[in-house]
Symmetry: C2
DNA sequence: ACACCAAGCAGCAAT
DNA sequence: ATTGCTGTTTGGTGT
């Protein structure tokens, strides 16, 4: 355990990435409060002082501390603790480490940024470039615009010069998508002093209740998908699989 | 590298938790598509076949595969790849492993569930038990109720027997909170055929625009907080700090 | 399954 | 720093 304390303190000062596993108990206090009784977990401490703690199931960490936290190992009699504090965020964590299973610390070189495709932004770009996919005669004016009424995905005129707000969803549109659209439409009506502004949800699908609310408000739905390049990845049988 | 392949295959069949670091390139195709050029990353494969991949910064994984994915190591000439597939979710990942930095596999025993306090649910429970914190004469009828209009945090009558919908937010209420409240209020008005239903946002704070929208709709704001036990955690100077 | 919603959401962009 | 919003959101709960 003394070796562990030396190792981790050294690693933290050197800005290495630390991974260890231990049997431990975790207390957290900050935006909420949590307690996790004894069990084996995986710990990851990054050079930016992010701490992520994983149980044996699920994608999300069970506990974590955000970047720029301060991590310390403390001996208290027979017990070993790690404390993590983030004064700025008023967050505190205390981990009683009962047993260390393994420890690794190493420098990690990685200056790369992930390149992501098929997002809602890609979708609004694509529809901006191909307005006929919304409807014949649609003339886009702007996309991804931050207005004081909110963040409007796609905005333009229809063939009758009526203003149209388009809200894009990369998946199934739900009630929240419709209320969001409605908020934009109403704000624009009010600010421009015009009676008629159309609202369109562009998404691959829409939930039943959302469609009902859409109809109640005389908005409309247009089936559309975010674009993908569909490059082949090893393990995929066919490109057409999804 | 051959040893690595044996180790990882063995670990995966035994249901151990695998952690390794490698220099690699990552391609993903599924709900979206991504590409991440060569760099050092930490890999975590859990007994439930969740894969989580971390870069040296931030809380969130840069890439991941959800539980029940299938992970395989493949040699292709001089290159080593790991493929992860989840047929059910139609998700595919391919990782070209250039160099392995370290590897660990170990059984992890952890049957514990995190105990969390200070959630929105705790807040609505507390306000249900202490209705005077909303306003004098408020009589709650239900809390956390799933209706076909949505999920209503707190519902009751005010001192004048007017129906009141309360939407709780554990942190600052925003525009979405107000539109959510408005949706519930309108649906209840319509379904019950009554003209007046009040709406209240209960939250520690509310954003400026949200407050304006709240006033426009003649709803009201009540300052309230989720309850916390505020137990002491090592590293916290005083209980009163937050 | 779908639907809806909270989250210690995280991360990002614009104000 | 605050606001608003997307996300390969994740995770939970109820229908």
């Amino acid at each position: 355990m003394d070796k562990f304390i030396k190792q981790i303190n050294k690693a933290l000062t050197k800005g290495e990435t630390v991974v260890f596993s231990s049997n431990c108990e975790i207390k957290y206090s900050g935006r909420a409060e949590s307690f996790l009784p004894d069990g084996d977990r995986i710990f990851l401490i990054k050079p930016d002082k992010t701490l992520v703690i994983h149980q044996p199931e699920g994608s999300a960490p069970v506990n974590y501390m955000k970047a720029n936290s301060e991590h310390k190992i403390i001996r208290d009699g027979n017990e070993t603790y790690m404390t993590s504090t983030n004064k700025k965020l008023k967050e505190y964590m205390e981990i009683r480490i009962n047993k260390l299973h393994f420890f690794n610390s190493s420098p990690q070189n990685d200056g790369q940024k992930i390149q992501l495709e098929g997002t809602e932004k890609d979708m609004s770009e694509y529809l901006y470039a191909h307005p006929e996919l919304i409807e014949a005669g649609f003339k886009p004016l702007s996309r991804e615009e931050h207005t004081k009424y909110g963040f409007i995905d796609l905005f333009g005129y229809d063939k009758n010069k009526t203003l149209v707000v388009v809200e894009c969803k990369r998946y199934r549109a739900d009630l929240a998508a419709v209320t969001q659209l409605r908020r934009y439409v109403e704000k624009i009506k009010k600010s421009k002093g015009i009676k008629r502004v159309r609202g369109i949800i562009a998404a691959p699908e829409i939930s039943k209740n959302a469609l009902k609310m859409l109809n109640d408000w005389e908005f409309s739905f247009k089936k559309a998908q975010p674009p993908k390049r569909r490059k082949r990845v090893r393990g995929q049988k066919k490109l057409g699989e999804f």
